[in-house]
Symmetry: C2
Subunit: 258 residues, 2 copies
């Protein structure tokens, strides 16, 4: 493919927040200038494009539903508009495309085809939770979803905590209706002085972010309500002196990627 | 502390990009309404506040230089304005505060003092590189800086590649003047079919993002210039079928944190 169209990665709000609260003006302008969209669910994409006042009526836009597990045999077809010089945007279901959201296989194919990939700035619950956690942001790991089975879950939590002893913050997510169960398991299986962050409803009016040691969590009179709200969990065991959570050595020697 | 001031985490552009390209309008408005700032380097913070047309003359603002390794004995004093009801913002040197940037110890102390922490949306080179890599965004790890010594660097790269065989994308950064050396080492020590992403100058006019297998990188006629530009590197070994880079199972069961 030799067109000059790009594959844009277009983030969307995490919940009930205004686009201008979480998306830069230029990102909104880029979205409004785009005609070809790939979305996990077309309905969500249409709702988003209405929220940002896309100047073209929805029926005039090309919105392809790629589903949660994109059919790889159709990716080349989805990327076709780029070969004719048109930008194609992957619209996230919530947050950033290709990060705890479908799309990576499409991005990978764009690289193979030589289509320029342009990531746009927007909200990521994982990144916002990490920033606000007070845990180590110099080294961290996002482990996705933990197992559901009680025994496997306990083992996974113990493994996460062990990995964090080297100073590497561990982040996980869960589907909202299992949030309470996950927090209970974390409080049951982690050491008393391990710090645990719960970040709920990020960027929405219900946002609540709490970092406490396990011993403090257990004594907390009221925990933030988690039942139906999207949450990110982070943990960091307390075995190293605080120096390990200070910035890495090399950062002072030049411009950083940020 | 019982004031209602918050600790804001205020991202800044990664390089020569307009604030409106990478910061939401509401984040800019929040920054303009803030009077108390904590910054690694006061000079960079002043330049940023001028770029966003802060309505208060710089000499009327409280800009505290916290340095690259914040002095923990001074943190309570820095957070004092919050007890009087004023927001205090940690301004990033570039990108997001407390992620590959100082500030986490201050955020941690805010949690201890019961000061609400509010992370604001902005550019993160690590997250943008991950989105645009086409590598697995369902599970990933940011390992910070690798060792400089040749033998240790080789061992660290081999360990990263081994860890990625489970499907977990590995991300690292380097100071710009060592970028070329790091890429050469990655191409030397990784398997031919391992995919490597180099993301340079993200969000700037010089942005270049390339994902190629090691064999392809070695044959590439011209690589993007890396010498003086901030870059993020990512790698993912190729041992699992493509299914492992599709979204995790639980995501389909409810709203996701994004």
């Amino acid at each position: 493919m030799n067109g000059c169209g790009r594959l844009l990665l277009l983030p969307t709000p995490l919940g009930a927040s205004a686009p201008s609260a979480v998306l830069p003006a230029e990102v909104l302008a880029t979205a409004r200038a785009t005609r070809h969209f790939l979305a996990e669910r077309a309905k969500s994409a249409r709702a988003f494009l209405q929220t940002i006042d896309h100047p073209v009526p929805l029926r005039g836009l090309d919105i392809v539903e790629i589903g949660h597990w994109p059919d790889e045999s159709r990716i080349d077809q989805w990327l076709q508009p780029a070969s004719r010089g048109h930008d194609v945007a992957i619209v996230a279901e919530a947050g950033c495309p290709a990060v705890a959201d479908p799309g990576a296989v499409i991005v990978a194919r764009a690289h193979e085809l030589g289509i320029p990939v342009r990531p746009l700035v927007g909200p990521s619950a994982i990144l916002l939770a990490l920033m606000a956690s007070g845990l180590n942001g110099q080294r961290f790991r996002f482990a996705g979803y933990l197992p559901q089975d009680g025994g496997e879950l306990a083992a996974a939590i113990v493994a996460l905590e062990r990995q964090s002893r080297g100073g590497e913050t561990q982040l996980v997510i869960e589907t909202p209706y299992r949030n309470e169960k996950l927090l209970a398991a974390l409080l049951q299986h982690c050491a008393l002085d391990t710090r645990i962050t719960v970040a709920v409803g990020l960027t929405t009016p219900d946002e609540a972010i709490l970092t406490r040691r396990v011993s403090e969590w257990r004594a907390l009179p009221d925990r933030p309500p988690l039942a139906k709200r999207p949450a990110v969990f982070a943990l960091l065991a307390a075995t190293r002196p605080d120096r390990t959570i200070a910035p890495a050595r090399a950062a002072r020697h030049g411009r950083r990627p940020g």
